[in-house]
């Protein structure tokens, strides 16, 4: 049974990092509620926040129901920062709108690639969930593409800001694809649970490149980029702890309360 135990650990690692990304970016997206530059954008970021947190809950529920994980609320709100496996990209504050929009573009295309592959996963709970998430994500990438193109065509200043946002976000976004430990990665690939981070990374580049080109943006030299790794192993930016404190403040007033 050693093999099966290892598979459970590997799948738990994969699902935890996916879910933590969804929860943290969901919370960050929600910080635009009431502050969006136009009303439609306020609604869009709030809706995407709701979707992301819903996806996080669905993933935490798989951990809880299938893999002996903790109760989803306890797991989301009571963990120390070092137990989170989110990437650095999702941790950063919302910044200016150009930053949030570029983060959203890079992150949601990465998710679209990931969930498209998970439709073929040998791990049934992930396969079943990805059908649903993939359909909902269509609207996230549609939204990101439309605004990216629009802002890049809105004059030199706007274009320059989008290029700067891409330069800032790109190494962070490469951190989405930080591989797990070699044996975990190899096991997940061998068991056809997912294709591994390298495959996803290359496909993500293929997917975003034509849209960036259409927007007239230059992709940073991929060979020179130092991806922001560390998040998957529990090493985080200084932004995560204050965010977790705020996010969990109400829950921790009474962790046993019934909602």
């Amino acid at each position: 049974m050693t093999t099966s135990l290892n598979t459970d650990i590997a799948v738990t690692d994969l699902i935890t990092k996916m879910a933590d990304d969804e929860l943290i970016i969901g919370h960050r997206n929600s910080e635009w509620t009431g502050l969006g530059p136009v009303m439609e954008e306020d609604i869009a970021f709030s809706s995407m926040a709701q979707d992301k947190i819903g996806h996080a809950l669905a993933l935490y529920t798989i951990l809880h129901e299938q893999l002996q994980g903790a109760d989803p609320d306890q797991f989301a709100f009571m963990r120390e920062a070092s137990a989170f496996k989110c990437c650095h990209l999702v941790e950063l504050p919302i910044g200016d709108y150009d930053f949030s929009l570029m983060r959203h573009f890079l992150f949601d295309h990465a998710e679209a690639v990931r969930y498209r592959h998970l439709l073929q996963s040998s791990y049934t709970p992930l396969k079943q969930l990805s059908q649903k998430v993939k359909g909902e994500l269509k609207y996230h990438t549609l939204h990101a593409n439309a605004w990216l193109l629009q802002l890049c065509r809105a004059g030199a200043d706007s274009h320059a800001r989008m290029q700067a946002a891409l330069d800032t976000c790109f190494p962070l976004a490469c951190g989405i694809f930080e591989p797990a430990a070699d044996e975990v990665e190899a096991l997940l690939i061998a068991e056809a649970i997912y294709p591994g981070e390298e495959v996803l990374y290359n496909e993500w580049l293929d997917q975003i490149y034509p849209i960036l080109a259409q927007a007239g943006l230059n992709l940073p030299d991929v060979a020179q980029v130092r991806p922001a790794y560390g998040g998957r192993g529990g090493q985080h930016t200084k932004w995560l702890v204050p965010m977790l404190n705020e996010m969990g403040a109400v829950f921790r007033l009474d962790p046993q309360a019934s909602w």
């Binding site: 439609e40 954008e41 609604i43 869009a44 709030s46 809706s47 995407m48 709701q50 979707d51 992301k52 947190i53 819903g54 996806h55 809950l57 669905a58 709970p125 079943q128 969930l129 059908q131 649903k132 998430v133 993939k134 359909g135 909902e136 269509k138 609207y139 549609l142 939204h143 439309a146």
Partner: protein, 163 residues
């Protein structure tokens, strides 16, 4: 009552359970019910949420349970069906008519994959014109998008197509 009669009665009862966000549609109109069966313990109803993050799922489940239990006088169990996934083609023809009468455009029928183009020229539920454009893929609830009609000058919502 025979098993068939019970199941028919359950469906009749489900006609009373409305979606809290679109109160003209029943859970049957939305294609949310995937199975009704009679078990030793009573009635088992399987349902699927429209969106993963739909905040009304628990509320709808409770409504289904209490309405059917009240109408049939039998214990009712409601489960989320994880094997079937909801998509907008599950909306019945009557549901689309009810939506339009409520002032919300119906989702276009898709072939399993939704492309951005499918949402162009969505017919305005107020004046019927197709001189419209998509203003935002997100609206007041997760299932809605916002369009604008150039003919009558009104913004309107659409129940968006979901694959």
């Amino acid at each position: 009552m025979s098993e068939d009669a019970i199941i028919s009665a359950v469906y009749a009862s489900l006609e009373q359970v409305m979606d809290p966000e679109i109160p003209v549609l029943t859970v049957l109109d939305l294609g949310m019910i995937t199975q009704v069966s009679v078990t030793e313990a009573g009635i088992l109803i399987k349902m699927i949420p429209t969106f993963a993050a739909c905040p009304a799922v628990t509320y709808i489940k409770d409504n289904i349970r209490s309405t059917v239990a009240h109408d049939l006088g039998m214990p009712v169990q409601v489960e989320v069906d994880k094997e079937t996934h909801w998509h907008s083609n599950r909306l019945s023809v009557e549901a689309k008519e009810k939506l339009r009468n409520f002032g919300i455009a119906a989702p276009q029928v898709h072939n399993g994959e939704v492309h951005a183009e499918i949402m162009l020229h969505t017919a305005c539920p107020h004046c019927g014109s197709e001189q419209t454009y998509l203003r935002s893929p997100f609206g007041s609830t997760l299932c809605r998008a916002i369009h604008f009609c150039k003919a009558c000058g009104m913004a309107f919502e659409q129940f968006k197509p979901v694959e």
